[in-house]
Symmetry: C2
Subunit: 337 residues, 2 copies
Amino acid sequence: MTAPRIVHGGGVAAAARRFGGRPEDWLDLSTGINPNPAALPEVDVAAWHRLPDRHRQDAARAAAARYYGTSGALPFPVPGTQSVIQLLPRFAAAGRRAAVVSPTYGEYARVLENAGVAVDRIAGLNAVRDAHGLVVVVNPNNPDGRLFSREALLDLHRRVAGSGGLLVVDEAFGDMRPEAAIAPLAGDGMPGLLVFRSFGKFFGLAGLRLGFVIGEAPVVDRIEDGLGPWAVSGPALTIATGLMTADTAAIRRSIDARKAALESVLVGAGIDIVGGTGLFALVDHADAPAIHEGLCRRHILVRPFDYNARWLRFGLAPDATSDARLAAALAEVTAGR
Amino acid sequence: MTAPRIVHGGGVAAAARRFGGRPEDWLDLSTGINPNPAALPEVDVAAWHRLPDRHRQDAARAAAARYYGTSGALPFPVPGTQSVIQLLPRFAAAGRRAAVVSPTYGEYARVLENAGVAVDRIAGLNAVRDAHGLVVVVNPNNPDGRLFSREALLDLHRRVAGSGGLLVVDEAFGDMRPEAAIAPLAGDGMPGLLVFRSFGKFFGLAGLRLGFVIGEAPVVDRIEDGLGPWAVSGPALTIATGLMTADTAAIRRSIDARKAALESVLVGAGIDIVGGTGLFALVDHADAPAIHEGLCRRHILVRPFDYNARWLRFGLAPDATSDARLAAALAEVTAGR
């Protein structure tokens, strides 16, 4: 039995087939990606032409170490953290269970269960038991934004590693909260800890397919073996090297401003925000399904959740024009409710 | 026991560390990639920015179907065929063996054996037996260029599929010999046949990480599940769509001319060519190790083979200046031998 594929955000083509309009004319708020992509640094012809050679990977790893503040390991580039989630069943010890702090990004449980791993969807860190050989925490969490402190995660890590297990901390949305990130502590000397970082969300370049994993060499070696040679494209390595060594303060300010604008629109529409990260807001509303469909009819896509019909996740709009478009649509959709 | 990683071509950084020079100043003939990359079509900002959406993948699949001449299936894009080789153990039926027509691209046997699959390295198609549930043929073969006819492969396919097995035909170097390609026959109605195509070799864009698989829907579905969502970057899909629908005759002529120039240089140096494809030549020489090292000292990298010390594989040089550089180096290296 294979669990059905998950319908993620980003499916504007499917939405446009159902509700009309050209995909490029939709306002896609269904993902948690910086809506204003960072300006691309120059990509040399060799990055496109050659198999990605070691020196290009080394440069990206050094840039990522500086950006993430790691000292115990050089972050290892992967073609999106999804590609490593696909490998996670290999890290589930035979006879032990996996625990995924839930609700969260659905691919963890899906991939593990499809590979025959027994998964407990647990509500908090206290529910981790010795039977759990693999524990997954997304921090800050998607979609509710719950944020565990570094201390709480280190305490959990001691328990999990103490029983020979592996703790995976997915910091895909961690760029805006570096003070809570555990990535700087991962690497050699921290067995049983594996941190995932996403490149595309903060820099607004999700199409590039790039992430980093940070952990002890034996674990990262197994990931490298699982992905095989040349897993990450040359342009992705080159662009990451350029952007991670540049000044990222302007990107932070832009994301902060866009998030504040989104919150203003939602509050102005009388919609309660119940969670989020720097890159999205989660709202809770009794009429969420109708709001979702009403926005679709106006060619605005937000993210519903099959496990909670009251929730919608709103990503950031790129500019004030889009804010106004969303505000007008929400005013129509919620009128009279 | 895990087999050690394979040292492939493309390792100019490692060679430069040992023999000096900047990697970008080396003449890298160690891979089988068109040395003159196709001009990149325009890549829209959304390709970089968004998660690769369905309509972008659909456009690439339609372009690939036209380029490869498939009618029974839309080719499915993957981030390099290496990524699918990593998944091949899933297609090895329990209790049956795999056969790899050898010598060939080393990752097939390595990945299968690391996953616990018993692999027979067979010398020809006649050695395939009913015990083989998975059979791999690289056609034309890397590195010797051996080319099986379409009829021979169809005959083999009948035998393999008849016993419930899967025949993988890797046509990574097939673009210059479309008349021998079996890709146009793969897809629905051909159970047990899976064809791999490489995008980067012919178009000279190996850094992009893109390939296609062509097969029956149930097999391709399992590959899609194994790779997970958004495996291929947006720019890769967009560039492939543009180039595969453009006129490729000029690329063919350029590769043909570069191959003829390489053969002239090798023959002029008194070196016997024993095989090859449109994108590389295989030579056999008693002093191959000394030639390899002598070229390295002159910052030219060719591909040696740990399983045959008499072989070297020469990729295409980009232009007449590089031809002359190779010719001069070979004259020095072989002087007095």
